[in-house]
Symmetry: C2
Subunit: 170 residues, 2 copies
């Protein structure tokens, strides 16, 4: 089962390698990770997608909680949270027809064409993991020259938040 | 000066903590990092934003190149690459007027309202770092309950790519 862990951490050098190390030492591969600052420049939010044995994930959560730079960690529930990801692709367009087809695919996914050359096209798209996986497979047919995915960010929906959620930053 | 490093890495446990460790050991704080799989499930792309002394960044790049799991590392030029970031915010809406104002701000940034409750609103937005910084400051006036930023992803624009760029996956 895929877990989405949301951590609020102090923006210190070393916190990322500490947290990543907890997973590595168990031979766990982090599927995706994103780290960005919050409105408080001293705090960052880290979102980690990780699959695997339930018990081991719970152990890792407990160990993360012991790290002094980890202020909170939540195991987000799938149906109570938004999970979004951003991806940018450069795809080959050997023919004008392939370019037209790719622009059409982009339209279906509400993706944006960010640049084009004679031989390739750059597409930017936002969605959940399933949507990004789908457009990746569709574009791969044409030949992906380069791609980058941010890794997911996830937050509990306001309509699903419990009163204690809002106290995490205090 | 802010550097945007784009790494293509083998999707092995440990590669993230190795790379992060190179920065930590020099007391460098990674400003943002995003790691996501590519169309080849064995490879991930890592995008790291890091500021600081030019010489030290060049040293870190050299050391990254020596890691066996790092297949390529590029220091992307600002004017030749797209840099995009995704952010999700939960903002307080104590009054109907504040909700209306926030929806208006969201419109200016082409942001999407992803959910609402009686007391808060969830906003999802994509942009470059400056745009995300701007909307963060604007929303902070209302009180941000929670936020998550992916960290940037960056790729060279197709129209600025050099022939050798496309050979990096071979």
């Amino acid at each position: 089962m895929l877990h989405t862990l949301s951590l609020l951490v102090r923006n210190h050098p070393g916190v990322l390698s500490h947290v990543a190390g907890l997973f590595t030492r168990r031979g766990y591969n982090i599927e995706s990770i994103s780290v960005g600052v919050t409105e408080n420049p001293e705090l960052s939010r880290m979102t980690i997608a990780v699959g695997g044995d339930e018990r081991v994930v719970q152990q890792i959560i407990k160990q993360c909680q012991k790290l002094v730079d980890v202020l909170s960690i939540k195991d987000l529930k799938y149906d109570e949270s938004i999970t979004r990801e951003l991806a940018v692709f450069v795809v080959k367009t050997p023919t004008n027809q392939s370019r037209a087809e790719i622009i059409q695919i982009a339209g279906v996914f509400n993706a944006r064409v960010a640049d084009m050359s004679e031989t390739s096209i750059m597409i930017e798209v936002t969605g959940n993991q399933r949507q990004i996986d789908s457009i990746t497979r569709l574009l791969a047919q044409y030949g992906i020259e380069e791609m980058a995915r941010t890794g997911i960010v996830a937050l509990t929906f306001p309509s699903k938040r419990k009163p204690e959620d809002s106290s995490e930053r205090e």
